[in-house]
């Protein structure tokens, strides 16, 4: 029983991976280190995929890349409308990052979204983007007036929603990843042989991709609502 509690506590806490020896030692947590690894993977994949693009007589790799990109672009353009296409690169980057971050448990790393700091920063970035989109479209006065729509009585609720939305975004992502980690730790403690495999498929792959999709879908809904 104590072994179970110990393994749970070890999974929940974030450990310091290494210490940068300048300015009196900056602690680098393992979520930051794994984020750097994800950035490296995405950058290397990007450089490999866009190497040698041609205008005519394109190869198979470029055809697959173009069809995938067009599919995702049309999907987001349907959500955001014609004027929201400025924000699509950010949304695609976030969905790729959260998807890879949730699935990196399969490679043996600790997932960075298990740390509350990472999910809070993602949610804050998204909300700042939504408000900036509203200000760019309507100007500062129009944005302040839009708090009073459709009826001026619900203006306090609109202001409150400004804080509730990032909170719900971050807690949804964090809670799902934390639940997955706790259940996987319990299963690995009780039945370490074969049972973790199908559960790991469900939690890491299916749940991780769906949570990334929901995060980005909600952010794009908020952007659409702020732009129109």
């Amino acid at each position: 029983m104590d072994g179970l509690v110990d393994s749970l506590m070890e999974e929940l806490n974030c450990q310091v991976a290494f210490t940068i020896p300048i300015f009196g030692g900056i602690d680098v947590l393992e979520s930051v280190a794994v984020t750097w690894i994800i950035m490296g993977i995405m950058m290397v994949a990007t450089l490999i995929l866009v190497h040698g693009l041609k205008v005519r007589k394109i190869g198979t790799k470029q055809a697959v890349l173009e069809s995938g990109f067009t599919f995702i672009w049309n999907f987001f353009e349907e959500l955001l409308g014609k004027e929201g296409t400025d924000y699509i690169p950010y949304l695609i980057t976030v969905v790729l990052y959260i998807g890879i971050a949730n699935m990196i448990g399969l490679l043996g790393f600790k997932s960075p979204t298990k740390d509350l700091n990472v999910t809070i920063s993602l949610a804050v970035m998204s909300i700042i983007l939504v408000e900036v989109a509203g200000i760019r479209k309507k100007g500062v006065k129009g944005w302040i007036k839009s708090f009073a729509e459709p009826i001026p009585i619900i203006a306090p609720i609109n202001v409150l929603e400004l804080f509730i939305r990032p909170l719900s975004l971050c807690m949804r992502l964090f809670g799902n990843v934390l639940g997955a980690v706790v259940v996987m730790a319990l299963i690995k403690y009780l039945v370490p042989l074969v049972a973790p495999l199908p559960f790991s498929f469900y939690f890491d792959i299916f749940d991780g991709v769906i949570q990334a999709y929901v995060f980005v879908f909600l952010t794009s809904l908020y952007i659409k609502e702020a732009i129109e």
Partner: protein, 74 residues
């Protein structure tokens, strides 16, 4: 004190009932809609997945609160 902590955590997780009922009802309506018009099942599935993920969120909030109660109250 540990008894009260345990009862508090148990009450926090009761929010799971709401998620189970909501997602069950949503899935039943989605299955009805697909049976009524099978060509639209792509859009129906997309809407169903989104609705389920959003409804799950309230149960997850209860779980996180239960976990915080267990870990941070002495």
């Amino acid at each position: 004190m540990t008894g009260l902590i345990a009862i508090g955590a148990a009450v926090a997780v009761i929010t799971g009932i709401g998620a189970g009922l909501g997602i069950g009802m949503a899935t039943s309506k989605a299955v009805d809609a697909i049976a009524r018009q099978p060509e639209a099942d792509g859009k129906i599935t997309k809407a169903l997945l989104l609705g389920c993920a959003l409804a799950e969120a309230t149960a997850i909030y209860g779980f996180v609160i239960g976990l915080l109660i267990i870990l941070f109250l002495k």
